[in-house]
Structure formats: structure tokens, C-alpha cells
């Protein structure tokens, strides 16, 4: 989310899901919405019924390509080139929104310089998308009254993830498609509380609400409320913590509700880090590829066993309610309070609502949130006072940057960290399937789901299958520079020739042994969406 924060001021979706149906153009970029976010796709369906035009940018022939005209079937890792190419056409044909650019943005002249080189001819070469399709997409997006962009992890899970998001912002800003209902940029969040976890400040350089640790007045505010002197040095990002563990410099770690050992990339590296740590605590509801390395396992509580809040992908803070007692006796908020108390810093909360009171006191965007107010319906942040109604559309008046203007950021095409070669000739794209969820520890324990989706399958294009003499259902060996796995194949034209696809939901087919070590240099997000592999028939 660092990308949108740099360009616009807030690392969050700018608009609301209910506005999707009223957009007249939807640009769906790197999001397999019908599988990854099925209910968001119902809003897309309503827009289609209302006559909206759909543009899809995705290397895979996802279900929504059925309604897309055009479908921009770009090569993995060519997002920036594609977006620069679209802006090039928009500027060349004078379709940009000059008034918006003049009044509400800065950095446009620099952008113009960079964009000059991205002619349709060059972009066709870099992305594999034909000139005609590029021109059509640019026209449709730029000429719309209200155009909305929906993007998913196909944007962020690249070594240029942050830059990709900024390139998306450049496109929206150039046409002024932001700051009004049914426009803007919806970053679709993969997990239930990605937005909230980011907002709450378990992050190395910020406290809650993205308030910087480095600012003395902010730190003092937290010190006063927490009654303790706080550390000033910036902390390590998760990926850096694991690197330090291998160097022998990180000695103890507490991992709560994350199966890093299955869902991080380049798993042999992660497992080595786990082995190197002196004392590792894992808190989870099931045994996973992470808990197996732990020194102590603390049982977690599922969402049904606790009170609390989640913040969704449109910044809406909603209640989670306890339906049954915690199966192992405690929920995580109680576990952490106990632990903190036992380390000499007493934390006593009778109910999570008291924790929210403290969050509201410290966090301007959450200042107006109380459990009473969100009892019936959640509120979208910013909600700055107890009578603030919440915010459905960001940036209507100004952007959250110094001076109130959005920033165009000039970006160059870089491509993926690892590209196919003779030895590893295929691009592996990873993602999700509708029936399963992340490490699969939950959905694999729903027996009906396992009946219809019992195992991982490698999607392979028929032309590649012919070349490799592989039949549908054959077991193959997939090898990358980092490891190998065996998996059954599904021959389908959903993946384009040269690209193969795997999800990561099975603990027996551990896809992330293969994925690459390249990371976004700003946010640290790994490049899950593209690495080079070899496929061998067994």
C-alpha cells in the first residue's frame, strides 16, 4: 500500500464497493475478482448489467475476460510498461483531464517526459498486448464519465509492486478519475483484515494510523498513553527479520496467526531462518509448516470465538462477535495481555471494546469509532470525531499529501526479477482458487470443499502440454532455482502459452518452495506473481 500512499496520501482504497455498480467503465487490473473476491465480483456484475464497459488486464484468461473488451493479456511483470503506454496514448490524443491535472496534482511535466518513450510500438513489444487493444483501452478509460480501477495482488506481488501501484495512480490522475463517487482506485485486499492490520501499526516505522515512530511528538503521545519510554530506532521488516535470523542476529520471534512457513516465498530460506532462531513462539489454530518449527505453540482462537473488529478493503470497521467460547480457553487479545503482564508491563482489558477506546484515542482516523457506533453497521475511516459519519469517498476536496495535491511519479519499465531462459523456460504465476484460502488450513478442513477441490493442479496451456508430451492429469516435476515440487497437471487455455499457474493452498504441494527471492525494494512485498521454472514429465 506504500504505492498509493506516496501518490495520493493514504494506503487504502479510495472509494466504496457499493459505488462499483454505478461506474460506466471498470478497469480490472491483476485481480481475478470472481475467484479472489467473489462478492466484489457481484458488484461488477451489477455494473455490467447497468451497461458498464469492462477492461481487464491480466495474463490469465480469467472469468471476467468474458465481459472484457478489450482484454489486455500482458506478459507477467510488464505492468508499468502497459500503464505508461496507456498514458502515452491518452496524452498523444489529448484525452487527459487538464483542469484536474492543473488544480489537483504535481509532477506532471516530469511524467510527460518519461511517458514520451512509451510508444504503442514499444509497449506492444514489452507487454505482448497489441497496439489496437492498447488504443481501445486508453480511449474507453479516458472518455468515461466515471471510471473505476479495481486492482489485486497481480499489481503488488512484483518486485516493482509499489511502483505498479503508483503507475495505476498516474493513470487515474491523468484522467481525473478520482475524488468522486464511482471513480478512484479500489485495491482489493487479500485477507479479511489486511487493512486493519496495516492501520494498527504492527510495522517497523509506524504506530497506529501510519503515524511515524521517527516523529518525536508522535512518539511522546504514545509514551504518555502507554506509560513507558519507547524505542526510537526503526525496526526490521518481516523479510529482514528472517534474513537477520539466518545471520544469527535475531534470537527470538513471536509469530501470531501467520503461516509464514507455507505462504512466504522461497520457503527453503524461511525454514532455514526458523531453524536458526533460538526461541520461536507460534500462535495458530492448526498445526502448520510454521508451528512445526516452534519451541512453544500457543493455541489461537478463530473469528467465531472472540469479540473485536476487522477493517475491510473499503476502510469499513466492522464488528466481529463471539459466537462460541474460545476452544483452547483464550483469545489472542487475552494471550498478549497475559504475556505483557508477565513481562512486567501489566495490561488489563475486560473487553476488546476497551482496547478500541485506546486505539481511538491514539489514532486520528479511528478517533470517532466506538463499539456502540458500529453495533448495527460498520463505519469507513477517516472517522475523526464521535459525530463524524465516516468517509465513503476519499480525496473529494484534496489529497492527503503536504499541499493537498496528488503526485505523479515517473516510472520506468523494469520487468520481473527472474525471467525465463533456456534452463527454466516457463513463467510460474501463483494465486488463489475460489474454493480455497491461503495456506488452506481452514478450507482443507471443510470436507465438502475437499470433495470438489481435493488437490493442487498445475495449469498448463495445450500448446505447452503438446511440446512437453504431457497429458491432462499427468504428474510433473516443477523445478525453479530454489527447489522442486511434484504436482498433477490440468491442461487448459486459461494460462497463456509460456505461463503456468499454481495456487498455494495445500501443505502437501508446497508451491512457495519455487517462488522467487525478489522483493519490492520499497514495501518488501515478494514477487509471487512471476518466477522462472522448468517442467519435466515424470
Amino acid at each position: 500500500m506504500a504505492g498509493l500512499a506516496n501518490s495520493l496520501g493514504a494506503g487504502a482504497a479510495s472509494n466504496s464497493f457499493n459505488q462499483i455498480k454505478d461506474a460506466d467503465v471498470l478497469f480490472i487490473f491483476g485481480s481475478n475478482t470472481t475467484e479472489g473476491h467473489p462478492i466484489v465480483s457481484l458488484h461488477v456484475h451489477k455494473a455490467i448489467k447497468n451497461g458498464a464497459k469492462i477492461i481487464v488486464a491480466d495474463p490469465r484468461k480469467i472469468e471476467l475476460t468474458k465481459y472484457a473488451n478489450p482484454w489486455l493479456n500482458l506478459k507477467p511483470g510488464s505492468n508499468i510498461a502497459l500503464l505508461n503506454g496507456l498514458i502515452h496514448i491518452i496524452l498523444k490524443e489529448g484525452l487527459q483531464n487538464n483542469e484536474f491535472i492543473k488544480n489537483r496534482t504535481e509532477g506532471f511535466d516530469e511524467l510527460k517526459e518519461t511517458i514520451k518513450n512509451y510508444t504503442p510500438e514499444l509497449v506492444e513489444k514489452l507487454t505482448g498486448v497489441s497496439k489496437d487493444k492498447l488504443e481501445k483501452a486508453a480511449h474507453i478509460y479516458a472518455s468515461a464519465k466515471n471510471a473505476m480501477i479495481l486492482y489485486g495482488l497481480g499489481i503488488t506481488e512484483h518486485q516493482t509492486g509499489t511502483e505498479n501501484a503508483m503507475a495505476i495512480a498516474n493513470l487515474a490522475l491523468s484522467c481525473g478519475h478520482i475524488g468522486r463517487p464511482s471513480t478512484g482506485i479500489m485495491a482489493l485486499r487479500g485477507q479479511n483484515n489486511v487493512q486493519g492490520a496495516s492501520d494498527m501499526g504492527p510495522a517497523p516505522t509506524v504506530y497506529t494510523g501510519y503515524q511515524y515512530v521517527s516523529k518525536p511528538e508522535i512518539r511522546e503521545k504514545f509514551e504518555t498513553t502507554w506509560h513507558v519510554k519507547l524505542p526510537t530506532a526503526p525496526g526490521l521488516k518481516s523479510v529482514e527479520m528472517f534474513d537477520k535470523a539466518i545471520e544469527g542476529k535475531l534470537k527470538g520471534i513471536f509469530i501470531m496467526g501467520a503461516d509464514t512457513g507455507q505462504t512466504d516465498p522461497n520457503l527453503n530460506h524461511i525454514w532455514k531462518a526458523f531453524e536458526s532462531i533460538d526461541f520461536m513462539v507460534a500462535c495458530d489454530i492448526f498445526h502448520t509448516h510454521t508451528t512445526r518449527f516452534a519451541d512453544v505453540i500457543l493455541p489461537g482462537a478463530s473469528f467465531a470465538e472472540k469479540d473485536g473488529t476487522f477493517t475491510n478493503g473499503e476502510r469499513r470497521i466492522q464488528r466481529v462477535r463471539k459466537a462460541i467460547a474460545p476452544i483452547a480457553g483464550m483469545a489472542e487479545w487475552q494471550i498478549i495481555s497475559e504475556l505483557c503482564t508477565r513481562m512486567g508491563y501489566p495490561l488489563k482489558y475486560n473487553h476488546p471494546s476497551e482496547i478500541m477506546e485506546e486505539i481511538a484515542k491514539l489514532t486520528p482516523n479511528y478517533a470517532g469509532i466506538t463499539y456502540e457506533r458500529i453495533e448495527e453497521e460498520g463505519i469507513q475511516w477517516p472517522c475523526t470525531t464521535k459525530d463524524h459519519p465516516g468517509t465513503t469517498t476519499l480525496y473529494q476536496e484534496q489529497f492527503n499529501r503536504p499541499g493537498g495535491k496528488a503526485l505523479f511519479i515517473s516510472l520506468e519499465h523494469k520487468g520481473s526479477g527472474e525471467v525465463p531462459d533456456n534452463e527454466y523456460p516457463y513463467v510460474l504465476i501463483t494465486g488463489r482458487r475460489r474454493e480455497h484460502y491461503n495456506n488452506g488450513s481452514m478450507t482443507r478442513r471443510v470436507k465438502e470443499i475437499m470433495e470438489i477441490s481435493p488437490e493442487e493442479l498445475l495449469e498448463l496451456h495445450p500448446a505447452d502440454a503438446d511440446k512437453l508430451e504431457i497429458k491432462n492429469g499427468d504428474i510433473v516435476k516443477v523445478t525453479s532455482r530454489r527447489g522442486k515440487i511434484h504436482v498433477k497437471t490440468k491442461v487448459t487455455n486459461r494460462s497463456q502459452a509460456g505461463n503456468v499457474f499454481l495456487a498455494f493452498h495445500f501443505d502437501t504441494t508446497v508451491t512457495n518452495i519455487l517462488t522467487s527471492a525478489y522483493r519490492d525494494s520499497i514495501a518488501g512485498t515478494p514477487e509471487y506473481k512471476s518466477c522462472a521454472v522448468r517442467i519435466d514429465k515424470l
Binding site: 464497493f17 457499493n18 473476491h37 467473489p38 462478492i39 482489493l188 485486499r189 487479500g190 485477507q191 479479511n192 486493519g196 492490520a197 501499526g201 504492527p202 517497523p204 519507547l230 525496526g235 526490521l236 518481516s238 523479510v239 535475531l250 520471534i253 513471536f254 501467520a258 505462504t263 516465498p265 531453524e275 489454530i285 509448516h289 508451528t291 512445526r292 473469528f303 467465531a304 470465538e305 473485536g308 475491510n312 478493503g313 469499513r316 466492522q318 464488528r319 459466537a323 462460541i324 467460547a325 487479545w333 498478549i336 495481555s337 505483557c340 513481562m343 482496547i355 486505539i359 453497521e377 460498520g378 475460489r434 484460502y437 478450507t443 478442513r445 465438502e448 470443499i449 470438489i452 515478494p526
Partner: protein, 368 residues
């Protein structure tokens, strides 16, 4: 969408509303009861069941309120002897081809047909005629279909075609033999069906039911807890229905701001993990001297771990972190938070790392 306000008279009372609203919407907003079977707020009005009829002054025949736009100066009656008689007849006709099976039906207590029959005093046996005797379809893991209980309201077909846009089912056959079904009666499988269960959520009677919830008790008497889904980041709300501290099933919250009662396969059917026998039920401490970290530990944790009390485990964690901090410094420690946990828990984890461990080495899984 026009936003001009109009005024009309309903049951003798003046009511103002937005132009463009249907009579049914106006009445429901005003708290005036109108019965419906085929209406679903998630779908365009369909006008099939004829139960929502109202009398409009100047119109010779009653009009279906779900398809009639409210107009300035309209005078509407929602309940009269004539309307009651007509509604009762519709219900009695439906009952003439409906199994007299409420005693054993899972839907009892949550069935719209049963509720309306009660309200209008409609009984079985008023009209006698041919009755369906069709086989139940149990060809998939999620949805049970008893066509004999179908009232042909069309909601399942409508939601599958117009909202989910999958078109798995349609009205098949003609006349007396028409019923919702897949093309050629083909079994529901992942090739043709998403198993989102939207059809089940739209069915007002016991024709489409969830297999997972069967025999776990009817809706009546279950505790309904409104909550937020824990899968993706859309933020759908639904009800967890609980009986005897067991989760019976998930049902739609039609007022939910984001999903309006819609759910996907995971949200609607993916709850069995909660009370699965594999759940970790006590704290576990690695056995002294055991270094086994192989994948086998996942299925057989006793190879490497022994059970412990909360007190023992928490004391050990506190002690070890304190020791490491003293020996190697606060920055040799770190905490990893979770997009799966609540805001409050993420806040507390960050607070614990900063105040007790004394480092900013804290991160969450949002970046991966």
C-alpha cells in the same frame, strides 16, 4: 435516478417517498406489511407470485406492488377482504402441490410459505389435483434439492442468472412440469456450479437446503450472532447460528452494507474448520532435546511437543524473551502480527513488542 419527492396515500395515510420507488419499497420503508414469495431485495422485481397485490384507486384490478412504481397522488390499499381472499387462494393453490411435510422439514420456522399460510389461514386440501412426486437431487456435497417443495417463485434461477451470472440453473419443462433445474438435469459439479449457495439463500421454502446443516436443528431456537467473515478482505457480514455451543450454519444478513445477504462458497459453507477435531486445544512446549521439525510434526505433534497449561507456557515465553533481551538486546527480538486477527489484537501485539520487548521489530503479513 431522479430524486424528486412525491406524496401518495397508503391505507388512508399520507406518505412521501422518492420518485422511482416501487409501491412495495415504499410500503416496506414505512413499515407497512405486504406479503411476498418471489421478491428478493437483491434482484429486480419479478412479479411472479401475485401475493404482493394491492388495490390502487382508479385501477379495475389489483396490481402487484413489487412492479408498480409509486406515483404522485396515488391512493393505495394494502389489505382488504378482497385482497385477503385472493392471497389466500394463491396460497391454497400452492399448497395443492406441496408436500404436507412441515413436521419433518428442515425449513420449518424459517419458511415463508408456512408463515404466510399461518397468517392467511390457508390449509392443505382446499384444491385437489395432481401432485408432483419427483426424486430429490442429492448429487453434490453442498445443496439438497427437493423439487416437490418448490413453489416456482423463480428466485433461485433469477439470482444464479442475473446476479451470480453463472446460469447453472434455469426453469426447465413446461406447464405443470416446469421446475428449476440444470440443463438436462445434469448433476451439480464444479464445471457448471460455483457452489456459492446463493440459490439456497434465495429459496423461501424447503426446496433448496444446505446439506451441512441438515439434522443439526432448525432455525427456531438457534442463537443468531451477527459477525464479519474471516476469509477475504471484502468484509461480508453474516449470521453464525449456534445451538448448544455448536455452530449449526451460516445464514445471510440481508442488511449487510457490503454484501446485502450475498455470500460465496467460503463464506457460506466454509465454517466447519471452526470446531474441527484438528484444532490445537492446549499450549504445547517442545520436548527437551527433540529437534524434529519435519513436516511429519504437523500430523503427529506429539513427536516433538508435550501439552502444557497456559500458566506454564506463558511463563516460559515471558522468561525466555526476557533472558534473550538481557543477553542480546531488545533488537534481537521480533514480533509478527496477522491480517487474520482483529484490529484490537494487532494493536496489542504491536504494543507488547514496543513496550515489553522494547524494539520496533514488529511487522504484519500485509506485505506478503
Amino acid at each position: 435516478m431522479q430524486h424528486s419527492t412525491i406524496t401518495l396515500k397508503i391505507n388512508g395515510k399520507e406518505i412521501s417517498c422518492q420518485k422511482g420507488m416501487t409501491l412495495l419499497q415504499v410500503c416496506r420503508d414505512a413499515g407497512i406489511y405486504i406479503p411476498t414469495l418471489c421478491h428478493d431485495d437483491r434482484l429486480e422485481p419479478y412479479g411472479a407470485c401475485r401475493l404482493c397485490i394491492v388495490e390502487v384507486k382508479g385501477q379495475r384490478r389489483p396490481l402487484s406492488s413489487c412492479t408498480t412504481p409509486a406515483e404522485e397522488g396515488m391512493e393505495v390499499i394494502t389489505e382488504s377482504d378482497n385482497l385477503i381472499r385472493l392471497r389466500k387462494s394463491v396460497l391454497e393453490l400452492l399448497l395443492s402441490n406441496h408436500p404436507n411435510d412441515c413436521m419433518l422439514c428442515d425449513k420449518t420456522g424459517a419458511c415463508t410459505l408456512q408463515e404466510l399460510a399461518y397468517r392467511y389461514g390457508a390449509r392443505y386440501g382446499k384444491y385437489m389435483g395432481e401432485m408432483w412426486s419427483l426424486p430429490k437431487k442429492e448429487d453434490n456435497p453442498f445443496i439438497s434439492y427437493d423439487p416437490n417443495k418448490c413453489v416456482l417463485c423463480g428466485r433461485c434461477v433469477n439470482i444464479c442468472q442475473n446476479l451470480v451470472m453463472k446460469g447453472t440453473i434455469d426453469m426447465t419443462g413446461r406447464g405443470f412440469h416446469s421446475k428449476p433445474d440444470t440443463a438436462f438435469g445434469k448433476e451439480l459439479n464444479p464445471e457448471i456450479c460455483l457452489f456459492c449457495g446463493q440459490c439456497v439463500s434465495a429459496c423461501p421454502v424447503g426446496a433448496l437446503t444446505e446439506k451441512q446443516a441438515m439434522g443439526k436443528g432448525r432455525a427456531l431456537g438457534a442463537k443468531r450472532i451477527k459477525t464479519t467473515c474471516s476469509y477475504c478482505g471484502t468484509g461480508c457480514n453474516f449470521y453464525l447460528n449456534v445451538r448448544d455451543n455448536k455452530i449449526v450454519n451460516v445464514t445471510s444478513d440481508y442488511d449487510a452494507p457490503v454484501n446485502k445477504g450475498n455470500l460465496c462458497i467460503k463464506g457460506r459453507f466454509g465454517y466447519e474448520f471452526i470446531q474441527h477435531p484438528d484444532r490445537i486445544k492446549t499450549p504445547l512446549i517442545r520436548k527437551h532435546g527433540v529437534t524434529d521439525t519435519s513436516p511429519d510434526v504437523m500430523s503427529d505433534p506429539q513427536r516433538a511437543f508435550r501439552e502444557a497449561t497456559w500458566d506454564e507456557a506463558l511463563d516460559l515465553v515471558a522468561k525466555r524473551f526476557t533472558e534473550l533481551k538481557e543477553k542480546y538486546g531488545a533488537d534481537s527480538l521480533g514480533g509478527f502480527s496477522s491480517s487474520r486477527c482483529t484490529n484490537e489484537e494487532n494493536y496489542l501485539l504491536a504494543k507488547w513488542v514496543r513496550v515489553a520487548l522494547g524494539t520496533n521489530n514488529v511487522d504484519n503479513c500485509a506485505r506478503v
